[in-house]
């Protein structure tokens, strides 16, 4: 992993993801970077943020040093406001109570379609991946933030399999398919913060991290990126942000 100075790539992803969250939002988060990002946001600038776990947890309070190993185990329910069935927590997405869902994936394409099912041909795959889980539901029903390491083998011309629909074939094709709400909101990598063009729905670079040049991002991407006329620069992680992350994950299970 890239290490921009005094922090790891994982820490950079967590910090940049957390800054994409706003106070008062309700956020669907998995364990790892998403949960760290959401917890960091609660501590720094979004005290009224509500976290949801796919295992059926609404409004947990994460205890530093006791990060849950998955979102479906009892450790997730610590001091939660409510536990409910997986079905019902996922239906909150469909009903519209969720503002942001965090996602990952093995591959992403220019329209934000994600693959977490098959590497190679689905009929005869090179690798059978673990599958969608609630990922497809998040991608279908709310705005998603994708958090990924920026590599050419991950940012591909065409995903081998559309597990989670982004802007599909671009333009209005997503809403034409029946997915009339949500869609990819941001892609946050260790190189840049990316968004999607309003019209074509192609991925575009919004801001570069400290010390990263545009070519470096394009070189790490398997398709042609759009660049804003004036490309922003993200502020590097602050000491406060890094301190919170390291307090949350003292054993560096996720932030190494």
């Amino acid at each position: 992993m890239t290490d921009n100075g005094s922090h790891s790539a994982a820490e950079l992803l967590a910090v940049m993801s957390s800054r994409s969250l706003e106070d008062g939002q309700t956020v669907f988060a998995g364990v790892g970077i998403p949960l760290l990002a959401a917890t960091l946001a609660q501590r720094i600038h979004a005290p009224g943020l509500t976290i949801l776990f796919e295992g059926g947890v609404l409004g947990p309070f994460i205890v530093p040093g006791e990060l849950p190993p998955s979102t479906n185990e009892q450790r997730c329910t610590r001091q939660a406001n409510m536990v409910l069935s997986n079905t019902d927590v996922l239906l909150l997405l469909q009903r519209g109570y969720v503002d942001i869902g965090f996602m990952g994936g093995a591959q992403i394409d220019r329209y934000g379609n994600l693959n977490s099912s098959y590497i190679g041909d689905a009929e005869n795959p090179k690798i059978r991946l673990p599958g969608t889980g609630g990922g497809n539901d998040i991608a279908s029903l709310t705005r998603m933030i994708v958090s990924m390491i920026h590599e050419k083998r991950r940012f591909v011309e065409a995903v081998d399999f559309v597990t989670s629909t982004g802007y599909w074939h671009g333009g209005t094709s997503r809403s034409d398919s029946g997915l009339t709400t949500g869609g990819p909101y941001r892609v946050i990598t260790d190189l840049a913060v990316l968004g999607f063009d309003e019209e074509t729905r192609r991925m575009k670079v919004e801001a570069l991290h400290d010390g990263v040049e545009p070519d470096q991002v394009q070189d790490a991407t398997g398709f042609e990126l759009m660049f804003d006329d004036e490309i922003g620069r993200t502020e590097p992680p602050t000491a406060d942000e890094l301190a919170v992350l390291r307090e949350m994950d003292p054993d560096r299970v996720y932030i190494a």
């Binding site: 998995g30 364990v31 790892g32 796919e54 295992g55 059926g56 947890v57 190993p69 998955s70 479906n72 185990e73 009892q74 450790r75 997730c76 329910t77 610590r78 001091q79 536990v83 409910l84 069935s85 997986n86 079905t87 996922l90 239906l91 997405l93 469909q94 099912s117 689905a122 005869n124 795959p125 090179k126 690798i127 059978r128 991946l129 673990p130 599958g131 969608t132 889980g133 609630g134 990922g135 497809n136 539901d137 279908s140 029903l141 399999f161 559309v162 597990t163 989670s164 629909t165 599909w168 094709s173 997503r174 398919s177 029946g178 997915l179 009339t180 709400t181 299970v253």
Partner: protein, 317 residues
């Protein structure tokens, strides 16, 4: 895949749904499952997995089970490796985030020897819920546009007759058998679960037979003192088996957390050779032990004590 309503009704009608004692052994309960049955598992990933009953089915050499679950962990590996199932329907299949993708799932599916039928997590839940409600489908606004719908049997797109919206109709799941592990139930099968409910209540209502395993069997009068805590009613239940630590090495909310040393050792074993590893694990932990307590003995007293201490800690606040 959707069971005709006449069949669903007839099967339910002929079940003995009366208030009667249903306590039996794991082995007796295993006899209620037929080769080829669709078996739905309660819990999710490492939580409230009905491991003791799965263990009993593998020991009873069941074959060709179609297994469905919210999210599938190591129990899916054991079902593939033992040959009890070659078809798992679920939304995510891997030991767990910290151990990465399942080598066993990869081995069996990539060689075409087993099927992992992938539905979105919400769609799985809505399918069980439709089954529980006695309707042939429920519409969802998920999975549209994705490649998932092309590789599964069943969903149909439709224009909503009220709004014109494009919807995906997901067909009801009415499993032949549901295996569900609970913290406590009575001898009739009234179950009260604590903590994360997962999809268990819908699965129990949807299934045509329900086998409950339970940490302990309590009196019916205890159940009746708090009827608003009952989540699965006795009318849906066909067997009650007391199986302490019945999810081990997985967790049971408020009773024990996962047995991590066993799960780490398992991951290492299948990491070396998926097929040989899972078969070795099956031999040692499933086929050889004399009974469920002998299996717990293999997991070790220190692990039982440690998992239980961590488990009940949710009530220390």
């Amino acid at each position: 895949m959707t069971k005709p309503y006449a069949d669903l009704r007839r099967e339910t009608e002929t079940r003995d749904r009366s208030l009667r004692e249903k306590v039996m052994s794991l082995e007796e309960a295993a006899a209620l499952v037929d080769d080829g049955d669709h078996v739905a598992l309660g819990g999710c990933t490492l939580s409230r997995t009905p491991m003791a009953m799965i263990w009993a089915l593998i020991r009873a050499r069941k074959k060709d089970l179609v297994v469905s679950r919210s999210i599938t962990s190591t129990e899916g590996d054991l079902l593939y490796g033992s040959g009890a199932s070659r078809h798992v329907m679920t939304s995510w299949f891997s030991q767990g985030i910290v151990w990465g993708v399942s080598r066993v799932m990869r081995h069996y599916t990539e060689t075409g020897r087993a099927i992992f039928e992938e539905w979105s997590h919400m769609a799985m839940g809505v399918r069980y819920r439709a089954g529980a409600m006695g309707v042939p489908f429920i519409p969802v606004r998920s999975m549209l546009g994705s490649d998932l719908t092309g590789r599964i049997d069943g969903p149909k797109e439709m224009a909503c007759p009220f709004t014109g919206d494009r919807l995906l109709l997901v067909p009801a799941l009415n499993p032949d058998v549901a295996l569900i592990h609970v913290q406590r139930c009575d001898a009739y099968g009234n179950a009260q679960m604590d903590g994360l409910p997962f999809m268990d209540a819908d699965i129990a209502m949807a299934a045509n037979r329900v086998i409950l395993t339970t940490e302990r069997i309590v009196s019916n009068s205890q159940i009746r003192r708090a009827p608003d805590r009952t989540r699965i009613p006795f009318i849906t239940v066909d067997a009650v088996v007391e199986a302490p630590y019945g999810c081990a090495p997985h967790e049971c909310y408020g009773v024990y957390e996962p047995f991590l040393p066993n799960l780490d050792a398992y991951a290492a074993l299948i990491g070396r050779d998926a097929e040989a590893g899972v078969k070795e694990y099956l031999e040692r932990y499933v086929y050889q032990p004399r009974d469920w307590v002998a299996y717990l003995d293999l997991l070790g007293m220190d692990n039982v004590i440690d998992a239980a201490r961590r488990g009940r800690s949710v009530y220390n606040d």
